[in-house]
Amino acid sequence: MKKRIMVGLLVALMATTMIFAQGTSDAKAESNTLEIFSWWTAGGEADGLEAMYNEFHRQYPGIEIINATVAGGAGTNAKAVLATRMQGGNPPDSFQVHAGHELIDTWVVSGFMEPVTFVLEDAGYMDKFPEDVIDIISYEGEVYSIPVNIHRSNVMWYSPKLFARFNLQPPKTMADFFRVAEVFKANGIPALALGDNEIWAATHLLESVILAHTGPDKYNALWEGNVMWNDAQVRSALNDFAKMMGYINRDHAALANMDAAGYVAEGKAAMNVMGDWAAGYYYSQGFKQGEDWDWVPTPGTSGNFIMLSDSFGLPKNAPNRDNVIKWLTLCASKEGQDAFNPIKGSIPSRIDGDRSKYDRYLNAAMDDFASNAIVPSVAHGAAISEPWLTRINDIMSVFVTDLNVDKAITEFQAAADRYAPK
């Protein structure tokens, strides 16, 4: 009898120790590796990342890259995994994060990140990035992440065919917008395509409308908590946004943002406001610029560039710190950025990208990036923290439906009171 108990216990013990042994041996797999964590699992972004890996292997053949990706949920799933790993003291060597407040408020203020100013300084890259960009990625005078790319948020895509049919010009101001929108509406064509089955697409549109009314300085002040939401210009922006909802496609809530961009190229809608990853989408679908689609800055924001950026940082206690520094140096370098961006469909965050590698749209974006006032995007985590953005998205979800400006202003203000930097 006793024997049997002992055997049983032994088996149980072995089973449990084996589980634990598995865990520790995984954690101690210490060879010359570099683990890069991202949610880039498909399409141009995954291919772009691969191109950067190839460049890395060429420079450092001895280092093995572990490509740790978590798919789904527009990065939410990956962020959940990342949060668990960071809090559990098991950070990846480096991870993808939107530059700006998404990185700073979540990871830098809470003390999880090491500054990487020295990476830029050691490589002599400090003056290769625009000052506005350095501001956005800095906290208390130190740079905390290396931006590998720049996307533009305030782009209006339009259908040249539809505009030509009604003899119209793409709108330059909000007043222009409503004038042309009225013509399209009268002819039974949705003037503005919106695909907000994920609500950030509506927030994305809102940031352009706010910028059009406030201009860059007040726009920044609003997200720093120094302008009240009942400010006259902000209110008129919300009024215009509500008015714009009268010109959108009926099925907006069922569409993804790319479907809405597609509506424009297919001639089903006249205009769409979406980030410039839409250009990459158009190219990949074989739509021709100037024929099926073209672009202007969103009405009233010409001369401004709302930017968002993917970046990589250096977590404290990264297992392979030296390799991360090599990786970050590559991310900041011209070779790295010119390998990644033409494939991802974005422009380099450096000012000296090799123009010949980029297509027509991206070249134009590079021109604007070099000359415009640069402000951070709200909808993509550059201007405000994640908790604030989540709340704004919730408010937008109702605002898009009930179009109640006064109620929205009260709620936006309450969110700002709770989350704006003090």
Partner: protein, 297 residues
């Protein structure tokens, strides 16, 4: 007796690791969530300052959570009624020796083999307002403008967008309830029904006075199984509709996932999950009590 006692000790020993794991990783973490829901942990860094019921207050005053609770109640109600009434009806048809029974049974049961994720993708396409079932109606010459899950109409607090979700969920679980009822019906002794027939009872009377009372325990179990699925619903809504415009298809599970992992509101997320736990407990605990009582009798 000596042997039984020893067997018992072995049983306890063998069960011990499992029980330990259960207590730590299920009940321990429920307790931990409960504790977090009373703290101010609303960023990445743990902050264990106690704030009393503030998280709960904030939830109940937020429009999103109010809509979520309403949605959950309506969804559960319709889902239960459709599955139970429909499931009973189908099983009754099969029970009455319908031809091709095994074929039909397989067809009805088939959706259950899919996961909610697959069901969600499927029905999202079907109910998509421009390309789905609406275009079918348009081909037949109707003007189909109903937005299905994107509709923002609300009748007395019931968001009509939920209809699409209710149909999808019922489609998946109708066959399952049918199978449960069918097992119950097959368990009814033929003599009972035959003697009733000899006494001159009609089919309706037999159904009402004999069959329904006898399958009451099955109805009860079906309600519990379906009820806890619908109260915790996440995957179907997440894949099929998301939270929808103005939260017409939002549920506490979606809210909890977003506020915790996108918004870093850990305490608020914990509060939502505690409320969901209470909702499910309201359904399950009476059931457990009644089964335990039944066992001891």
């Amino acid at each position: 007796m000596y042997c039984a006692k020893k067997d018992r000790r072995i049983a306890v020993l063998i069960l011990l690791p499992m029980l330990l794991v259960l207590f730590i990783f299920v009940y321990g973490f429920i307790a931990w969530s409960l504790r977090i829901s009373f703290t101010d942990w609303n960023s990445i860094l743990p902050n264990m300052t106690s704030v009393g019921f503030e998280n709960y207050q904030r939830l109940f005053s937020s429009q999103r959570f109010q809509t979520d609770i309403r949605n959950t109640i309506f969804f559960t109600l319709f889902f239960l009624v459709i599955c139970i009434v429909g499931g009973f009806f189908l099983s009754y048809l099969l029970y009455s020796k319908l031809r091709g029974e095994s074929f039909l049974r397989t067809i009805y049961l088939f959706p259950l083999s899919l996961s909610f994720v697959v069901t969600g993708v499927l029905w999202r396409w079907i109910f998509s307002p421009e390309v789905g079932i609406n275009s079918l109606f348009r081909m037949m010459g109707f003007e189909a403008t109903f937005g299905w899950f994107t509709s923002t109409y609300s009748i007395g607090g019931f968001n009509v967008a939920l209809i699409a979700l209710i149909i999808a969920a019922s489609w998946q679980y109708l066959g399952y309830t049918m199978a449960m009822f069918l097992a119950g019906l097959r368990g009814i002794p033929d003599q009972l029904i035959e003697s009733a027939q000899i006494d001159g009872a009609g089919e309706l009377a037999i159904t009402w006075y004999i069959i329904l009372p006898l399958i009451k325990p099955i109805t009860f179990s079906a309600m519990i199984v379906l009820g806890h699925i619908s109260l915790k619903i996440f995957d179907l809504a997440y894949v099929m509709t998301g939270k929808g415009p103005a939260f017409v298809t939002d549920f506490p599970g979606l809210f909890m996932f977003e506020t915790t992992f996108r918004g870093n509101h850990y305490a608020e997320g914990a509060a939502i999950s505690i409320i969901m736990l209470i909702l499910v407990a309201v359904v399950i605990v009476p059931y457990l009590i009644s089964t335990l009582r039944g066992d001891s009798e």
